[in-house]
Point group: C2
Amino acid sequence: MFYNSLLNLAEMKKVNLKDVAQHVGVSTALVSYVLNGQAVEKQVNKETAERIVIAAKELNYLPNQIAKSLKMRKTHTIGLVVADINYRFSTGITRAIESEAKKKNYTVIYGSSNENEEKFAELIDVFVNRRVDGLILVPVENSQDQIRKLQKTDVPFVLVDRIFPEMETNCIALDNHKASYTSTSYLIARGHKKIAMVNYKTTLFHLLERNRGYRDALNEQGIKEEWLYEINTESRSGDMEKALSDIISQQDSFDAIFFATDTLALDGLKLLNNKEIKVPEGISVFSFDESEAFELFYTPITHSKQPLEEMGKLAFNTLIELINQNKVNKLICLQADLIVGQSCREILV
Amino acid sequence: MFYNSLLNLAEMKKVNLKDVAQHVGVSTALVSYVLNGQAVEKQVNKETAERIVIAAKELNYLPNQIAKSLKMRKTHTIGLVVADINYRFSTGITRAIESEAKKKNYTVIYGSSNENEEKFAELIDVFVNRRVDGLILVPVENSQDQIRKLQKTDVPFVLVDRIFPEMETNCIALDNHKASYTSTSYLIARGHKKIAMVNYKTTLFHLLERNRGYRDALNEQGIKEEWLYEINTESRSGDMEKALSDIISQQDSFDAIFFATDTLALDGLKLLNNKEIKVPEGISVFSFDESEAFELFYTPITHSKQPLEEMGKLAFNTLIELINQNKVNKLICLQADLIVGQSCREILV
DNA sequence: ATAATCACTTTAAACGATTAAAGCAAATAT
DNA sequence: ATATTTGCTTTAATCGTTTAAAGTGATTAT
């Protein structure tokens, strides 16, 4: 084989700086300068520079990012941990983050914690070992210690969606209280009085905020009672069954169900289908976020919609600021949109 | 600050091999041997080994994977390119691949081509530059040249779902012809005679195979005509509208619609909802794969189901074989499951 | 008494880039 | 005639690992 032949070399294993340098007959330093746009600054002879550029192209030279990362102490990689890749929320922000990252020449390495504390911790460890430049995290329940551990590190990170209010972290989240308040108010405005709230039994702040928004709206608008049904993740379908049975048994007194997440709404709507309760005639339904699944439901579901694109974009760009300047302190609160479907009837007084 | 204090050092920036070595008072080589389980092989003094292990733990030493990768010429990272993260297919195999990868201590870097040829090429370039050990690809239409380029490289890869039959590649795919044949036969067996097939207008082999399966089933079972409607991705909703209008206008003569993908089925079912055609009373519906969206449709959709978990697992493990041994040649064909719902009525003859 | 073996441990060269600092002719200044 | 500057290029250290190869005392063999 003619290892020296241009063609063969280009097709051979990997071409490195040294190969290019030897081919042109200069040192690796010169090649590095030229290929990194420092030709003028370092006063490289124009003709030499050209020869280097041409040779690099001909040899199909691609810099070894690993070596570069080691030397520069920058990997141009960020880690993303979502709660569950099957959530629409996850694919939404993942998409946004990935496309934003690509624009800025960053690579995303990704993992799904599946709402599992240990897996969450493991993923962070793996990413930190890989020397990611930063992390975007959707933390799981009870991961405060993990986050605190991370804070002692010099790895910048931003939380998305879920906040720990007792900690100072950079965070992009929805104003869940307000979104929930607005939603509940919308139901009240349409004449609903007895509104059930179905939420997970959780300590996650963002979900508790949805309860608080619901409660505050009721109270401030003269409804002194509240009807909160809590679903345990471990006994999910059973709990939902119980909650809906309870709501339905008092069917003529309950006006609406407010589901605190799209996953809950999906479960709930399936059950309502089974029980042959019509929406909104039998009962009004309001959801937080929407699942793709809603598209085939006979009634468009009125819901509160999170700006996923924007969240992802903001998360990424905040992280980049952190990476570049080190000191930013941000708690960005976004507003939800109220998407009016036909799942909430108008009750005349 | 007491840089020498254990506690502070552990909380400081990054601890490296040298730090551990100095702390114990030995060379980095010894530390490396011990921490990589070569203590016995390299005849390291037991007591020394212990001291090294303890020091590493105390200092919270984590090996720098970048340096390791550079030296070992192995990144323990694989690249995954899916066609669109919003497809259920994508999240399905992504999940499987990721969990399999984690078991074997691999990290996945991931990207979505959004069915775009250029983005597909870009992603591969980025991943190859990052020196991934291998690639799992769901190729986009017309990406043959990209694949051929990749073959000239020493980067091992496996294709998933979509094959280019004219090329020799390692590939995990469904037996689409058979799945489609079986599905069509099922419809025929239930007394359907005039069955419309709705598919994308495409050159993608796996989708064409679905057409062929449909056609062969019809022909071999005495139905000499075929009714193929092709949807152009660019004029998607218009084309679907046209196709369905055409099918419906002859409603009493068409018995069933066979959608070649879940995305097409979703679009189609939405339109049928709008047009207030009932499934299966008005027309039978069969889908290839299912979308989460089907869960809220009033009728469980009968469909052909791909074993996503298995596909992902096989893809990953095949890739690992390739990475380790270099020469494997596999075209693994999986079989679909027929999931019987209630969307295909029984037509009595 | 000297050589060989043993049981450890260290040295130092990679991996492929970046980049201060030094080197070296030729041109210009003193 | 010598010193300085200019214009360009090379040298060599560095990032944090891995791992042949060499080193080193103590023990055993000849």
